[in-house]
């Protein structure tokens, strides 16, 4: 997958985490997603539609989920709770829509978030071709999985630099 297609998700995640949680996100080396199921304690998925189709999943380890949600809500929330699912779903929605704005020529709409708890296999989670972006924060680790299918001309908007500013 071309870096231009997944870089907006990195930019958006950094911007969202810095603004809402005051957390810095370090993104490690991107890797293609293998065909095997990669479990997470909590996964939040957003589907993107428009001229292109795609999806984004934020997959969290348990401690990262609980610490990040505590920063959002100000209270401790178990990772297996509806409240945690709601908070992380909203976080995923904001990250995906931020990336969508940078890819605005390709996507016109984002779904409501779908959150899966406890590493259940989600058959229709991002399927290859997808890229996995491992992320590290002071609150723990998570991944961003991005899958974009059927794109024609590059969906990267010329307005990307204006929309988020420098998120690096």
């Amino acid at each position: 997958m071309e870096p231009d297609l997944f870089t907006p998700f990195i930019q958006s995640a950094r911007h969202v985490f810095a603004t809402m949680l005051q957390v810095e996100v370090d993104v490690l080396e991107p890797r293609p997603k293998s065909g095997r199921h990669e479990p997470h304690a909590v996964s939040a998925m957003i589907e993107l539609k428009g001229g292109c189709e795609g999806s984004m999943v934020l997959g969290f380890e348990q401690d990262a989920a609980e610490r990040l949600v505590a920063l959002m809500t100000g209270t401790h929330t178990p990772s297996h709770s509806a409240e945690c699912a709601d908070a992380l779903g909203e976080l995923a929605s904001i990250v995906a829509c931020g990336a969508k704005a940078l890819l605005s020529e390709g996507f016109t709409s984002a779904s409501l978030p779908r959150v899966v708890l406890d590493a259940e296999p989600m058959a229709d989670r991002t399927m290859p071709p997808a890229v996995v972006l491992p992320c590290v924060t002071d609150c723990g680790r998570f991944v961003i999985e991005v899958s974009i299918l059927g794109h024609g001309p590059s969906p990267v908007s010329a307005r990307r630099a204006e929309t988020l500013g420098d998120c690096r």
Binding site: V16, M20, V69, D86, E90, C97, G98, A101, A110, L112
Partner: protein, 123 residues
């Protein structure tokens, strides 16, 4: 002042309610989607509405259009993940007074609320 907060995310409603509380507002009603908001607005008669855009049942734009038919002057702030210019213009044409893009800091939301109330009072 009575404030209606409309968002399908309980977390986001809590965050916005926290900002409003810090600004000194205590009479705050919540709704989880546009349909719920229209039902509650009828009896609650809010003085200010904060509304999300992307919600199930009736989205934010649909709520604003319906709300404006009977409440042409009540200040409405859209708090949305959608930051594209076309979306903002569409919301303003529907009757939104101000627009906040998620993610927002509490200070930014606080500022927009105060701006909106001041400009509506001056009008």
């Amino acid at each position: 002042m009575k404030i209606l907060v409309v968002d399908d995310s309980k977390t986001m409603r809590a965050i916005q309610k926290s900002v409003l509380t810090q600004l000194g507002y205590s009479d705050i009603e919540e709704a989880s989607d546009g349909q719920d908001a229209l039902r509650k607005a009828g009896s609650y008669d809010p003085d200010l509405v904060l509304v999300d855009s992307n919600m199930p049942n009736l989205d934010g734009l649909g709520f604003v259009k319906a709300f404006r038919r009977t409440n042409p002057a009540t200040p409405v702030i859209m708090v949305s993940t959608e930051g594209e210019r076309a979306r903002v213009v569409e919301a303003i044409k529907a009757g939104v007074n101000n627009y906040v893009v998620k993610p927002f800091t509490p200070d930014l939301l606080s500022q927009r609320i105060q701006e909106t109330l001041a400009s509506c009072e001056a009008a």
